[in-house]
Amino acid sequence: MRRNPGHIVSVADFSDETLRAMVAALEVSTEFEHLIYRESELDAVWSIAGFALKDEPDVVRREMIARLKETALLAHDLVADSRPREAADALKTLL
């Protein structure tokens, strides 16, 4: 899936579909502007995961969401360091 890196991915959840769209956008991002959009997407998915974690009663799912949140933070910091490909690789480990 090739995405336009100038468009912000709509992040309403942390489903595989959303993560795939984020990975695809990360893989083609090169400019300052693109990295800003990617960071905002990762901020959004990290925030949503954080809210979900608070309310999740199931232990197994809690672990999964905690890992996702941690990985989103790692990817976020890689994007902040202008390393979008490595951020994409990090997110792929969740798929």
Binding site: I8, V11, L35, I36, A44, S47, H76, A80
Partner: protein, 428 residues
């Protein structure tokens, strides 16, 4: 979110800190020219970037800005006598000119020649746009003054106010680039609820903002890096074949220009760190084509928009934390979202409520916070570059500041930077 290290780098502004050194590469507004109105007038205390300074206008009209404390015994020069081209400390009589040179030291024997060897830390000043600007960085790295339109128009076309805000500059600046808050913080209850009567009223309105904000509550954000900072473009659906675009300018290190509609006056802000926990907000309103209108003057007098009245001397807004910004809960219940009068006080109340320095490691951002993220990243990149010895290009590119914001309706196939190009060039 930011790491703690990034947050510290952006919010600490004393000498030797990341943002502190970065601000010291620019000319920054220090005080109103009217604060030192006439030759030999009383000196004025001013705190900037964590430094306590004293400003005075000498007999020849030159403005000095120097360390507040006399190097002899550290007495405050606020008590000093402004006389014959210098400020004299009234404790032992040492006198300094606007460049900081000690020109008289009457309590020491003249044969020692001590006065020629003593200096007080002083910063250069320029008078421009009704303000006194200063450069607090290395003397061999003097930047260019920014060629901003509001500073270049005749006095009658401009109004500038200055006020104290009791929080770090960055969270105040972030409010300036975050256009999505205006639909809530500055909205009426009717606009927020989209009542029938409100819809009927704005359907025929010539105010594009009121009309199209209502029709599309999920705008798309675009940022574009420029020589001077960022253009932050927000797109909303307008009519079937058109988009409504609002372009905010962010100009380094800490200026914004609010989107304006052709035919109206233009407004903007500059946030200057006073120290890490307070900042000065400079707000400018200007009309490039003529004197400010009665409507503008009424908005200023009634504090309905971006300016706020302040206490003389402290420059603290009359509506402030100690009186809960004058919140009227009945007004909030029936009329406005905050119950606080005026955009300036609404912004101040919310930004100060976040604490003196926001802990950005715990915030929850989303894709509507793109402009905030872009502003932080740009500042962080610039600060990192300076730390590696690369001077900020914008500080030496005053001409690049000759821009305006804009808001307009464009056909959907037209890119905003192309469609708005002419409107975004300043004229004066």
């Amino acid at each position: 979110m930011l790491s703690k290290a990034e947050n510290d780098l952006l919010t600490q502004t004393n000498s030797g800190t990341g943002a502190g050194e970065y601000f010291r590469r620019y000319w920054i507004p220090a005080l109103m020219a009217s604060e030192v109105p006439t030759p030999d007038c009383p000196p004025v205390r001013i705190r900037l970037l964590g430094e306590d300074l004293i400003a005075f206008r000498d007999t020849n009209g030159r403005v000095g800005l120097m360390d507040e404390f006399c190097p002899h015994r550290r007495a405050s020069l606020f008590w000093g006598r402004n006389e014959e081209c210098g400020l004299r400390c009234v404790y032992h009589g040492w006198k300094f000119d606007v460049t900081g040179v000690c020109v008289d030291m009457p309590n020491e024997p003249p044969e020692y020649g001590f006065d020629n060897k003593v200096r007080i830390s002083a910063y250069p000043t320029r008078e421009y746009g009704g303000l006194i600007w200063t450069h607090m960085g290395p003397p061999d790295k003097t930047p260019e003054l920014p060629k901003m339109e509001w500073a270049r128009v005749p006095d009658s076309h401009r109004y500038v106010s200055k006020r104290l805000q009791e929080c770090n500059y960055l969270q105040a600046l972030e409010g300036g680039v975050d256009s999505s808050h205006s639909n809530f913080l500055h909205a009426s209850v009717d606009a927020f609820r989209v009542t029938d009567s409100y819809v009927a009223k704005i359907r025929t309105s010539s105010n594009l903002r009121a009309k199209y904000h209502l029709l599309d509550k999920a705008p798309r954000f675009t940022v574009k890096k420029t020589d001077y900072g960022l253009v932050i473009a927000v797109r909303r659906n307008a009519e079937e074949n058109t988009y409504y675009w609002r372009m905010t300018q962010f100009l380094l290190p800490s200026y914004t220009i609010i989107p304006y509609q052709k035919g109206n006056s233009i407004h903007g802000h500059c946030w200057v760190p006073r120290d890490d926990e307070t900042c000065w907000i400079w707000t400018y309103t200007w009309n490039p084509d003529g004197p400010l209108s009665q409507e503008d003057l009424d908005a200023i007098a009634n504090e309905t928009f971006v300016h706020a009245k302040v206490e003389p001397g402290t420059l603290r807004p009359i509506r402030n934390k100690s009186n809960n910004y004058g919140i009227d809960r009945e007004l909030q219940r029936t009329t406005t979202m905050t119950g606080i009068h005026g955009f300036a006080s609404q912004d101040q109340a919310i930004q100060e409520s976040m604490g003196t320095i926001v802990d950005r490691t715990t915030e929850r951002l989303g894709t509507s916070d793109t402009a905030i993220i872009a502003t932080r990243r740009l500042l962080l990149q610039e600060i990192h570059a300076l730390q590696q010895g690369k001077e900020p290009p914008a500080a030496n590119s005053g001409d690049s500041y000759w821009v305006r914001s804009c808001s307009l309706v464009l056909n959907r196939e037209v890119e905003f930077d192309e469609g708005a190009r002419e409107m975004m060039i300043a004229g004066v």
